[in-house]
């Protein structure tokens, strides 16, 4: 299946639920969906195109909202994008569809504070246990100090 | 007269061929073992302490003696302190059994071969105590493995030694050596298989690859040795070196004709010592080669191996001896 066929099938199945879609490069498909149908779309992709593989989940702080990108697929990469509110970042988990997504969701939870509803084991994976609550390193308002390099002269 | 004899005995026990001599060659053997192992692996091995690094084991020993001695809070203090001392002194005593300058060791009595076997088992029990007393998870697993391993190799080891005793008809090391003076060495007789079994079991006794399961570094840190440091570790390591001499010396006494060989009249002690050293080094090299050849077995595979192969073979060997006699 080529990337265009795949995108057409997705458009057919979800119609107006796909806010935006594009093929920026060969074998890469970008679709933007609302938060509510994020899980549904991923489920559709996994079941209908026989792509049980998730590459990773990227979280990006876009200012007022956090963008979640799920990169799916083996030969064709399908980037399913969705935006969630930064003050109340919540989204459905996809670990029940793809068990391998567990660690990626935990990473996003840890670094951006996104709450994945229904995740069986949502706890810290990267930051130390005594890292202050409510501080998320990959959000833009977190600005680490840059210590001056130690100079001998 | 009595005083002179007494003084000689003291000299024998403490200087030559007793503790001092044994201590020196045990360190030397550790160096040979390490150097040969390194050579097989295309490395250099110990290099800088002394010529060709020959003083490296001594340097390690001194360094460990000088290090801080830590006793964990949760450990059983008495047992934790005593086990290194015991294992060291037991091994040192055991080496007195080895015939070096003549056909009998400094310590020689009827039935000393049973004593020799008992000491090997005793050492293993001390290992178990050491592992348990340190109250550490890794040590506990290591101690448990040591005992499991003992169940595996001990019976074949005993059977192979008893086979020798049966062959000769005495339970005394000096008699076994004397027997080989008149007959051929036992390894060339019906005991060749026994020697092979002995060497494999000795490798397990010494906890070396492929049977270094109780202190498998990659799995349980250092096993039963994990919590030991400083002087205690130094003593344990020294005890291991002594055990190396003891095990190879026993193999020489039982299978390779002890320290015997062609000599010039009047110079027997010198030649005997020389032969003893040469023969033990040969056994040592065999042990080192085995160490370089294999990967470590898992504990269940080890026990399986010794009950499925080693034990039937040693029983077969036992019957072979009965048939020959």
């Amino acid at each position: 299946m080529s990337d265009e066929e795949l995108l057409n099938k997705l458009r057919e199945a979800f119609k107006e639920k796909i806010i935006e879609s594009s093929i920026p490069r060969k074998n890469i498909v970008n679709i933007v969906v609302p938060k509510e149908s994020y899980k549904e779309v991923i489920k559709f992709i996994v079941e209908n195109f026989n792509i049980p593989h998730i590459q990773t989940i990227t979280g990006i702080d876009m200012g007022n909202e956090i963008q979640i990108i799920a990169h799916l697929g083996r030969s064709i990469t399908i980037n399913v994008k969705t935006s969630i509110d930064k003050n109340n970042p919540q989204i459905d988990t996809i670990t029940d569809i793809i068990p391998g997504a567990s660690f990626y969701e935990r990473e996003v939870y840890d670094l951006l504070g996104v709450n994945f509803i229904g995740h069986p084991n949502l706890k810290r994976v990267i930051l130390p246990e005594d890292w202050p609550k409510g501080v998320y390193p990959l959000r833009k308002e977190y600005k680490p100090e840059h210590p001056k390099p130690l100079r001998g002269v | 007269m009595f005083e002179i004899e007494f003084a000689f005995k003291i000299l024998e026990i403490f200087i030559f061929p007793g503790f001092l001599f044994i201590g020196v060659i045990s360190l030397l053997y550790e160096w040979i073992d390490r150097k040969f192992y390194a050579k097989l692996q295309n490395r250099v091995g110990p290099l800088y302490a002394g010529p060709f690094g020959i003083l490296q084991p001594l340097a390690d020993f001194i360094k460990l003696i000088a290090k801080e001695d830590i006793v964990p809070k949760a450990a059983d203090k008495i047992l934790f302190t005593l086990t290194p001392l015991f294992s060291f002194s037991i091994m040192l005593t055991a080496t007195l059994l080895l015939p070096i300058i003549n056909t009998s060791g400094i310590l020689s009595f009827n039935g000393d071969i049973i004593f020799a076997i008992a000491i090997m088992t005793l050492f293993c029990i001390l290992v178990f105590c050491a592992g348990l007393s340190s109250n550490n998870r890794f040590s506990a697993v290591g101690a448990e493995r040591a005992v499991l391993q003992l169940l595996g190799y001990e019976i074949p080891l005993m059977l192979s030694i008893v086979g020798v005793a049966l062959n000769v008809g005495y339970l005394r090391i000096s008699e076994i050596v004397k027997y080989q003076l008149t007959n051929t060495w036992l390894i060339f007789g019906p005991q060749a298989l026994g020697f092979a079994i002995y060497v494999i079991a000795a490798q397990a006794e010494l906890e070396r690859i492929p049977f270094d399961i109780p202190e498998a570094e990659q799995e349980i840190v250092a096993g039963w040795l994990t919590e030991f440091s400083g002087r205690k570790l130094a003593l344990f390591r020294f005890a291991r070196d002594l055990e190396l001499v003891y095990v190879s010396g026993l193999a020489v006494a039982l299978y390779l004709g002890g320290p015997l060989g062609p000599t010039i009249a009047g110079l027997e002690p010198f030649f005997y010592t020389l032969y003893f050293i040469i023969k033990t080094i040969i056994v040592l090299l065999i042990l080192s080669t085995i160490r370089a050849l294999f990967a470590r077995l898992r504990i269940d595979q080890m026990v399986n191996f010794s009950w499925n192969y080693l034990l039937p073979l040693s029983v077969l060997q036992f019957f072979l001896v009965r048939l020959v006699i």
Binding site: P24, R25, I28, P52, H53, I54, Q55, T56, T58, I60, I69, H71, R74, S75, I76, T77, N79, I98, P99, G100, S102, F103, Y104, E107, V125, I126, L127, P128, D130, P132, V135, P137, L138, Y142, P144, E145, H146 | Q41, N42, F138, V141, I209, P210, D212, E217, Q218, E219, I220, V221, A222, A292, L293, F294, A295, R296, L297, R298, I299, D300, Q301
Partner: protein, 395 residues
């Protein structure tokens, strides 16, 4: 039998890097496992947002020491996608050569480590000795043994001369011969077979569901390789086979990696034979246009993903790295847990753990910097002693 927990790590002789495996054991059997990978965080993703694209090449390289070429190749391909420019074919071929050399070195390193984990020191020594030839070759080509700094945005930094080409061919012959020997040893040595066969089993269905990547997945009989599925650099022109083995155990992983070395050697030879003429790099401006790009590369450990979001400035707005080891950790947990008649023993942990070829400095990338005013992260010696004493008394 009551179970108790054995912590393996974060400091442990079997682990070259800090990871904490909390093993629930009953006697020698493992019934549960919990993994903590949080000991190696350097905040590279955040640090990349503070540096320009040129500086980030070398930062990306330092995500991992062993598979550094995979990271630089992935980074540069990723940033080049933002510019949308063609890279000269000679540079593409050179990238393949250096990447495959890196893969050979990584797989040989792994083979040695695998030998070490099962207590086969001799194999470890020999394999690492022969790996040194590949390291010397990498040094000759790039100027450094480990951190190659070879690929750059727009191409590669150095060309290979005919002298170097001769050296590569000669070394490849030696490495091929030695690798054949190690393969025969691994297949014939009974103690290796005992320790690796039917150990650390990851069934095909589990490997797919848990999204395993790289040699781990291929050893579970799934034909998957980014180089074949979504070719990058010159991989669409260079022929190679995707190696799979159906045994799903550690032995299968050894075979996959060893056979991959042969494939790498053939690919390098092909690249040298068909090396196109022309420039090796093009100059690109410091500021890429706005846009985003996602690139996947087959690192020695598996599929590696880089994602970049550019806002048109000289620094990336967001850079995301997903390393193969992180993707393989769920599979590791699955491998280490006994279920049904499948039993894992403590003695199997080091080799099963090593069989995913873990690289934890890849896995953690987040900086620990002071945020609470009263909480210090840089400690004096006395404070550290005090803290450790307190923690020790607590436990």
């Amino acid at each position: 039998m009551s179970s108790f927990t054995i912590p393996i790590g974060p400091q442990h002789p079997a682990l070259p890097e800090p990871i904490l495996l909390k093993l629930e054991v009953e006697g020698e059997y493992i019934v549960g496992v919990d993994v903590d990978v949080s000991y190696m965080h350097r905040g590279i993703e955040k640090a990349m947002e503070y540096r320009n694209y040129i500086q980030n090449i070398y930062l990306a390289e330092r995500i991992c020491g062993i598979c550094n070429v995979a990271h630089t190749v992935c980074y540069t391909l990723n940033v080049e996608k933002l510019y949308d420019k063609e890279i000269p074919p000679r540079a593409q071929y050179l990238r393949v050569i250096i990447e495959e050399l890196n893969r050979i070195h990584s797989h040989l390193l792994w083979l040695g480590v695998a030998g070490h984990e099962i207590g086969f020191e001799t194999l470890f020594m020999y394999v690492w000795r022969d790996r040194e030839r590949v390291m010397d070759l990498i040094e000759t080509i790039t100027g450094n043994r480990v951190n190659t700094a070879y690929t750059t945005i727009g191409g590669v930094r150095r060309d290979i001369t005919s002298d170097i080409e001769y050296k590569i061919r000669k070394t490849m012959d030696i490495v091929e011969e030695r690798t054949k020997y190690y393969k025969s040893v691994a297949a014939a040595e009974p103690t290796i077979l005992n320790r690796t066969k039917d150990v650390g089993i990851l069934k095909t269905i589990d490997a797919i569901n848990l999204c395993a990547v790289g040699p781990l997945l291929r050893a579970s009989n799934v034909k998957n390789d980014v180089r074949a599925d979504a070719p990058y650099a010159a991989h669409d022109e260079v022929p190679f086979n995707v190696i799979t083995y159906p045994y799903c155990d550690v032995f299968s992983r050894i075979l996959v990696r060893v056979d991959e070395i042969f494939e790498c050697i053939n690919m390098i030879r092909y690249c040298l034979d068909h090396l196109p003429k022309g420039p090796i790099r093009i100059k690109l401006p410091l500021k890429p246009p706005k846009g985003e790009a996602v690139t996947r590369v087959e690192a020695p450990r598996g599929e590696l993903l880089h994602y970049v979001l550019s806002d048109g400035s000289e620094k990336p707005y967001r850079y995301k790295v997903r390393t193969p080891t992180l993707a393989n950790i769920p599979s590791l947990c699955r491998m280490l847990t006994s279920t049904g008649d499948y039993i894992v023993k403590i003695a199997d942990v080091p080799i099963a753990y090593a069989s995913i070829d873990p690289c934890l400095c890849c896995t953690g990338r987040v900086q620990i910097v002071d945020i609470e005013k009263n909480k210090k992260w840089i400690w004096s010696w006395e404070e550290l002693k005090e803290y450790s004493k307190k923690e020790w008394e607590k436990s």
